[in-house]
Symmetry: C2
Subunit: 152 residues, 2 copies
DNA sequence: TTATTAGTGGAAACCATTATCAATTACTGT
DNA sequence: ACAGTAATTGATAATGGTTTCCACTAATAA
C-alpha cells in the first residue's frame, strides 16, 4: 500500500533525480491547488503547512524548472508579471484544457469546450507546420483574452 | 504628398495623443522590422539610426504600452525573459498570423497556414466561451513550441 | 563507515521593467 | 508669432521576480 507509485515518480527516477521531501511537497501543493500558483505562492503555501522547516524559494524555482523539463508541470505567462504553474496531469489522467484570461482582474478560467474539434485541427496544423518549416513540434499554447462579467 | 495619413495616426489623435518624433520613430522601427524586437532592441536600433539624439529606454517602454493599448502593436512572451513586440497590421492591411517557437535557439516563425479553418473554429469557440463564461473576448493567442531543424 | 555526488537554502547579484521628477516640447488660443 | 498649458521626455533611482553563489546537508555507492 505504501508502494502506490505516483505517475511522476517514475519520470523523476528515470531522469536520475532523487525523490526528496521538498520536491514531493512542491508537487503536493500543485496537486491540491485548483488554480495556477506562482513560485512565491507555492512557497507561502508550504510555509503555512510546515511551520518548522521552510523550503527555500530557490528550491521552489529549481524544482519547478525540473518538473517543467520533465513535462510533469506546465508553465504559463498570463501577463501579471509572474510565471504560473500547473500540473500537467490530474489525478484522473490527462486533463487537457486551455485558458481564458480576464485582462481586468487577472482571473483565469480553465476550459475544455470545443477541445475535440480543436484537437483535430491542431493535429493537422502541427503536421503541416512540422513538414513545411522542418520543426518537431512538442506542444502548443492557446489563450483567449477579454473581460469577465465582473470587469466588463 | 506630405498629407498621406498613416492608419495609426488617426488612432493616436483620436486617443488625444501627440504625434511626437520619438513615437513616430518607434513605429518606424517596427514597420521596418521583420521580426519581433524587444524594447531594448528598438532602443539600440534607434541609437544606430540617430547618432545625435537618443530616445530614452523609458520612452520606448511607455510608447509601446500606449501602442499596445491602442491595438496598434501586439505584445508577446516567447519565453526568453523579455517582452517582444510586433505591429498589428502590415503595410498591406492586416496580416493575421501565429507563431512557431524553437525552444532551442529561440527562433520564431510567423505562419499563416490553416489560418482560415482556424479562424472559423476560433470564432465558434469564442462565441461559445463568451456565452458560457460571461466573458467579452477581445483576442486570442496561439503558439506552437518545438525544435527547429538546426536545433533538433 | 567512508567516499562521492546530488540537493538545499540564505544571501547577494541580476536584469527587465517601472517610478520619479525636472526639463523640454507640442498644442491652444490670443 | 507668442504666451500659456498640459503632455511628453529621459536620466536616474527603485522595484521585484528570478538566478547565481557557495557552504552545508542528505542521499547513494563502495
Ligand atoms: Mn489551467
Ligand atoms: Mn509575428
Ligand atoms: Zn475580471
Ligand atoms: Zn532552433
Amino acid at each position: 500500500m505504501g508502494s502506490k507509485k505516483k505517475w511522476w515518480q517514475g519520470k523523476m527516477k528515470k531522469a536520475g533525480l532523487r525523490l526528496t521531501a521538498p520536491r514531493l511537497s512542491i508537487i503536493d501543493v500543485l496537486i491540491h491547488s485548483d488554480d495556477h500558483p506562482s513560485a512565491e505562492e507555492i512557497y507561502l503555501a508550504l510555509r503555512r503547512q510546515y511551520k518548522k522547516h521552510t523550503i527555500g524559494l530557490t528550491t521552489i524555482y529549481r524544482t519547478l524548472d525540473i518538473l517543467v523539463q520533465l513535462g510533469i508541470v506546465y508553465k504559463f505567462d498570463f501577463g501579471d508579471g509572474r510565471t504560473r504553474y500547473e500540473l500537467s496531469e490530474g489525478p484522473n489522467g490527462f486533463h487537457h484544457h486551455h485558458h481564458l484570461v480576464c485582462n481586468g482582474c487577472g482571473h483565469i478560467v480553465d476550459y475544455t469546450d470545443f477541445i475535440d474539434e480543436e484537437k483535430e485541427l491542431l493535429d493537422r496544423t502541427e503536421k503541416g507546420l512540422a513538414k513545411k518549416y522542418n520543426f518537431s513540434i512538442h506542444h502548443h499554447l492557446i489563450q483567449f483574452y477579454g473581460l469577465c462579467e465582473h470587469c466588463r
